[in-house]
Amino acid sequence: MTPLDVLLWVAFPYAAAAVFIVGHVWRYRYDKFGWTTRSSQVYENRLLRIGSPAFHLGILFVLVGHLVGLLVPAEWLEAIGISHEMYHIGATVLGTAAAVLTIVGLTILIYRRRMTGPVFLATTRMDKTMYVFLGATIAFGTAATVLYQVFGAGYEYRGTVGPWTRSLIVFQPQPELMTTVPLAFQLHVITATALFALWPFTRLVHVFSAPVGYFFRPYIVYRSRDEGRASQPARRGWEPMAPPEHRQRSRARR
């Protein structure tokens, strides 16, 4: 194991994870106003209507696949009756289908972004950087699947990449697991790690705004004007003031 291996498979992932977490906290505190999907649907709808759902659904399937493949040990799946062969065929078929959906969607979206005037004008440098890393990650991942799983003999990443990921999570890093992994998989992991480091500074933050709360709140939201002001930072030297009867009410509420 060379120092490069330690750098790539221990230091880099941890650094990326730190940037990912601290970056999100910082961005949320500093830039709530910039935290949005930055939708460009009002500029162009025809291509988006196909591309966006295809890409998003595809990438959600990909996410679920990665969670199962990386975080669930092979023995656990075997314990519930999913054999190695079953997993391999399932992962390859579903994974390829999800990859096709994602790539078709992403291709449409990137084409739209470049060729539709207003959409291209609304594209920031950060967007472009993000597209490079996102595109590279998806391309290497698909290449690895196609080369090794579809046309090759099949590569058992659940013996190397999976345990390596889990070793990072439990802070017992085992970089040696990654040294023998084929290059396509290695590149996929490296670009993905870089993407995670970029994540908090791109529009990808909208992933963490998935509006799950919508299912659980009443339709009509009421808010007091006081609440709005409470979210503002208090200014030096000023005690918040309230007329006497208001003070009584708020005390009664407590």
Binding site: Y30, D31, K32, F33, G34, W35, T36, T37, R38, S39, S40, Q41, V42, Y43, E44, N45, L48, R49, S52, P53, F55, H56, L57, G117, P118, L121, A122, T124, M126, F201, H206, S209, P211, G213, Y214, F215, R217, Y219, I220, V221, Y222, R223, S224, R225, D226, G228, R229, S231, Q232, A234, R235, W238, E239, P240, M241, A242, P243, E245, H246, R249
Partner: protein
């Protein structure tokens, strides 16, 4: 009974001359920024006409507002929670910018800086979206004064819903202006559509607002609002809407659109209502009953029971007093001359309209008859089906009776006051024929025709002392990340915390005074020249002698 206060507006359409002053001042105050070039929180439509955005009233197409299910419950017309989230990656019912209009500017620079040539320079229209040359083909008021209506008015959703004879009798043209702002509904479907919960109705005064820090740009509110009065800022990726000028309302000032209205046709005031009954009132089966059911939600501010309940809810004493003096309460409930816009959307809108009598008066007067005679006017109101049916399509879900009743009251007032003004004995019978007394008619006349400022706007000030927020006015230069900062945040011009207005102004001023080039090409900034010393560059053309011999300029006196 849960008493809540609602700041609401009534507009007297008979007085609207369609001058667009409200739209322009509103735009100057709120939406003269990049990203909202196409947005008019206040717009004035000529009706019949297709409105802004085009055909927004066709809810079969746009799916705004609520609809009543067969089981008698309300559901969002564009779909409930699951349906909303399943469409979140691409909202199928979102208007594109082209449905509003492509905003543009003119290449003014060309007029001043064009090189000498054979032709007069022309300021070409440039798209504010793409920056390219464009052909202007639509705008927020393209069919103003029925301009081009022969081609476009057939697409007016109200006309389409009227009986077939209308299209043929359209030669008997009538028109009026309809200024529109956000309705600040009691049952707002935009708020219900927001997946992030960023939109809310303020407890104190019922103003519907978007929390810019919580909005994530899912765009469902734009679809949800049947009046299409929530807009998407394409630069910041967030929703924006009419705020009822809440910073002004909070200190007792009328909204910008009201303050600047030259016709003085807008009224602002409080209405007390029973929040517990809103949902039931919005889901009555017959659309024609929606007007009455919404009226039944409002609470009489003079009723001691209501006053007691209002106090129990913590509504301050001066707010109850303002609700009692409210012109809105008088126009909606006492004189019953104001009607809501499109009650059939079931959002319980709170900007109401006094329908215009002028189309009726015009027809009577044009026919040579006395346009101020009560009997002539009453007969015309009954006979003139087209304007009345059209108004019913706007204000009462197609029910002609309430529109006729309202117009009769306006006609009666006109006729009753004519006698008074000519020094004749007032005719009580006219007042009685519309169920009013002469005194009531005169009171209504004072409110509608004289319309004193303090009668039009009864706005109690907000009740939390805001001294600490006023610190901003002191323009503290040591503000954190303050004047040293300026410019854009790290993620483009829309990112970063909000910059206090004072700091923003400071930077704009500094930039203007230190810029190499004047901000408006061809203009000279005299603000930073005190009349002494060298005049600003560009004020005078260079002297020919300067060009030949620069040293000589020092010896000559300066202007």
């Amino acid at each position: 009974m849960k008493v809540m206060a609602q700041m609401s507006m009534v507009m007297n359409l008979d007085k609207c001359i369609g001058c667009h002053t409200c739209s322009v001042t509103c735009k100057q105050a709120w939406t003269n920024r990049t990203g909202v070039e196409y947005v008019w929180f206040n717009n004035v439509e000529t009706r019949p006409g297709i409105g802004y955005p085009r055909g927004y009233e066709d809810q079969e197409e746009w799916q705004g507002g609520w609809e009543r299910t067969r089981r008698g419950r309300l559901k969002l017309k564009a779909g409930g929670r699951f349906s909303k989230l399943s469409k979140i990656f691409s909202n199928p019912k979102l208007p594109e910018i082209s449905d509003y209009y492509e905003p543009w500017t003119y290449e003014y620079d060309m007029l001043l800086n064009a090189p000498a040539g054979d032709h007069t320079p022309v300021a070409r229209p440039k798209s504010l979206i793409t920056g390219d040359d464009m052909n202007i083909s639509w705008s927020a008021n393209w069919d103003d004064n029925l301009g081009g209506s022969t081609a476009t008015a057939v697409d007016d959703p109200i006309l389409q819903h009227m009986s077939e004879h209308v299209a043929m009798e359209f030669e008997q043209t009538f028109m009026f202006y309809l200024p529109r702002i956000c309705e600040h509904c009691l049952n707002p479907s935009c708020v219900a559509s927001c997946p992030s919960g960023a939109m809310y109705k303020r407890v104190e005064d019922g103003i519907v607002l978007v929390d810019q820090d919580r909005c994530r740009g899912w765009r469902m509110c734009v679809t949800g609002c049947p009046y299409k009065k929530v807009y998407f800022n394409h630069k910041t990726g967030k929703a924006e809407k009419c705020t009822l000028c809440y910073p002004r309302i909070e200190v007792g000032l009328p909204t910008v659109c009201s303050e600047t209205c030259v016709g003085r046709l807008r009224y602002l005031g409080l209405v007390l209502y029973d929040a517990d009954r809103v949902a039931a009132a919005a889901s009555v089966e017959d659309e024609h009953e929606l007007l009455e059911s919404q009226r039944s939600v409002f609470l009489d501010p003079y009723d001691p029971e209501v006053v007691r309940a209002a106090r129990a809810e913590g509504i301050p004493e001066d707010w109850i007093d303002a609700a009692q003096r409210s012109p809105i309460w008088k126009l909606i409930q006492e004189y019953k001359v104001a009607l809501p816009l499109h009650p059939e959307y079931r959002t319980m809108p709170m900007v109401w309209y006094i329908p215009p009598l002028s189309p009726v008066v015009d027809v009577v007067a044009d026919s040579g008859a006395d346009g101020e005679d009560a009997r002539n006017l009453f007969a015309a109101i009954d006979k003139l089906r087209i304007p009345v049916e059209y108004l019913a399509g706007l204000f009462t879900a197609g029910d002609v009776a309430p529109v006729q009743a309202t117009l009769r009251r306006l006609a009666a007032m006109r006729s009753y006051m004519r006698d008074l003004n000519l020094g004749d004995e007032p005719n009580e019978a006219i007042a009685r024929s519309v169920g009013m007394t002469g005194t009531e008619v005169e009171d209504m006349y004072r409110l509608l025709a004289i319309a004193k400022y303090e009668q039009r706007y009864v706005i109690p000030t907000a009740h939390v002392e805001q001294a600490e927020a006023l610190e901003e006015l002191a323009c503290s230069l040591d503000f954190e990340g303050g004047p040293g900062m300026g410019g854009a945040g790290p993620f483009g011009s829309s990112s970063g915390p909000a910059v206090p207005v004072a700091v923003e102004t400071f930077h704009a001023l500094q930039k203007r005074q230190t810029a190499d080039r004047p901000s408006t090409p061809g203009r000279v900034n005299l603000l930073n020249w005190d009349g002494l010393g060298d005049p600003p560059e560009g004020l005078f053309p260079p002297r020919s002698s300067d060009a030949e011999n620069p040293a000589s300029s020092d010896s000559e006196p300066r202007p």
